[in-house]
Amino acid sequence: MKLLTREALLSFQRAPLLSVLSVTTIAFSLFTVGLFGLVAINLREALRGLEERVEIAAYTFRGTPSETIVIATQDIAAFPEVQDVSYVSEEEALRRARSELVEFRDAYRDLQVNPLPASIEVRMKAGYRDAATVGRVAERLRGFGFIDDVRFGREWVQKLDQLRNLTGLVGLVIGLAFAAVAVVIIGVTIRLTILQRAREISIMRLVGATNWFIRGPFLLEGALKGLLGGLLSLVLCYGGYLLFRDSSGGTLSGLVFFGPQQMALIILFGVLLGLCGSMVSVGRHLRHV
């Protein structure tokens, strides 16, 4: 084990330029993946804010007895998809209109009769805010006899759906592409190290070292480079994150960075990339010798 670590570390010392090159290429590959990940998690964060506002408004017929509405409200609150339900009376609706729609304040003030209907506002639980579920719940609300009309931003909800799916897909595709590039780059740099040490490897084989013994230092070297690359990419990502946040002049102050688990995942990903790259190169070389 001591020898394994020594041999792996020696390769950094013997070929510092090559090692720096491979660590930085890994870092930049992971940096790109990381940046996209940051965009994705911030987009998801922003979408979550939007999603929380997904609600259904069910307008009641004028004159519906309030007991009916209270009972119905309890029924609706028991729907598995529903987070909470609130009743907005005609007077409440008018008060809200007066305070929110400033432009029409005068028009609302002079009214003799309240033209606004009472409504039941339904907010959906997280995970049920997609267009299909919202539409299904809206349809069920329509089934109540005292409901005149049901409104929800159908198109808006659908767009949200598409955006969410697209983000996931683009993230996956770009992430995979960059991971492949990283594996190739690591493979090439490890291959250069192997070629540089071909003589040493041939002697190791000659004196009876097992293939695993020969592989060990290279795999450790790849994993170490992946680890360093992963750490460096996080530093770069954090720099990018700070730059974005500060240059936005406060408008993007709500930006979030990776959590500890996500950071650990990126580093682990770096280590795995390093291992894969060296495994491919070493495997190929040992077959040919």
């Binding site: 001591k2 020898l3 013997r14 003589r199 040493e200 041939s202 002697i203 190791m204 084989r205 000659l206 004196v207 009876g208 070292a209 097992t210 293939n211 013994f213 020969i214």
Partner: protein, 229 residues
């Protein structure tokens, strides 16, 4: 110790490196393998340390069947052999003792025994005073002694030497050859490929001569036949 039975070796380009080669080497023997370049000496060496596999026939070395050797068995076989080459194959960035220790380290020898074993073989090859020297600070003959020490450090049953004196002047050649004889006197089988016929003629050791991939002369067999009535 070594048994070649009707061995053929064909290379992917169709060239026949060995044609129907049969011989065997017993415990304690010293054998010269002679012939011109391309006669098949190096191919026999490569088959012996399982660098290559025969295309036909059977090769057995120190109890292992090279034909059917599993990947895991290749290192095991090699630990029972010592191999020395014309170009020494030393690591330039390590001292003489580090080069020898390398052979022990990579085979997982106990760390606390390494220094003593290295010093023992370096003394055996007459280089204990230069254990801290790098290969570039040593003469050709000395470098070959370091290579021999590395080959010996695992106490091999068989020492394979492929043109070990090919790069050496006459004096160094004599020294290295004497060292190989001493090693053989200690009981280790030595197979030495060489085209230095002067060296071969000076001694009474068994000689196997190769030509165009075929075995054309084996002093053991041919002399026995000549002596027969």
């Amino acid at each position: 110790m070594i048994r070649f039975t009707s061995v053929y070796k064909a290379y992917p380009n169709g060239a026949m490196a060995l044609k129907d080669v049969t011989f065997h080497v017993s415990k304690g023997e010293f054998v010269f393998l002679t012939g011109h370049s391309g006669a098949g000496k190096s191919t026999i060496m490569k088959l012996l340390f399982a660098e290559q596999r025969p295309s036909g026939g059977e090769v057995r070395v120190s109890g292992y069947n090279v034909n059917s050797l599993q990947p895991d068995d290749v290192p095991r076989l090699r630990r029972r052999l010592g191999v020395v080459f014309q170009d020494f194959r030393l690591l330039e960035d390590r001292t003489a003792e580090e080069n020898v220790a390398f052979a022990l380290e990579v085979t997982g020898a106990r760390t606390d025994t390494i220094a003593a074993r290295v010093m023992r073989v370096l003394t055996q090859v007459g280089l204990s005073a230069k254990s801290r020297a790098y290969p570039r600070e040593l003469s050709g003959g000395e470098q070959q002694r370091v290579a021999i020490a590395r080959a010996l450090v695992n106490d091999p049953a068989i020492l394979l030497a492929d043109e070990p004196t090919g790069n050496l002047d006459e004096r160094a050649t004599r020294g290295v050859f004497q060292l190989l004889r001493d090693i053989n006197n200690g009981g280790t089988v030595v197979v030495m490929a060489t085209h230095d016929l002067d060296l071969v003629r000076q001694t009474v050791y068994r000689t196997i001569e190769m030509r165009d991939g075929g075995l054309v002369y084996d002093s053991d067999v041919d002399e026995a036949a000549a002596e027969a009535p």
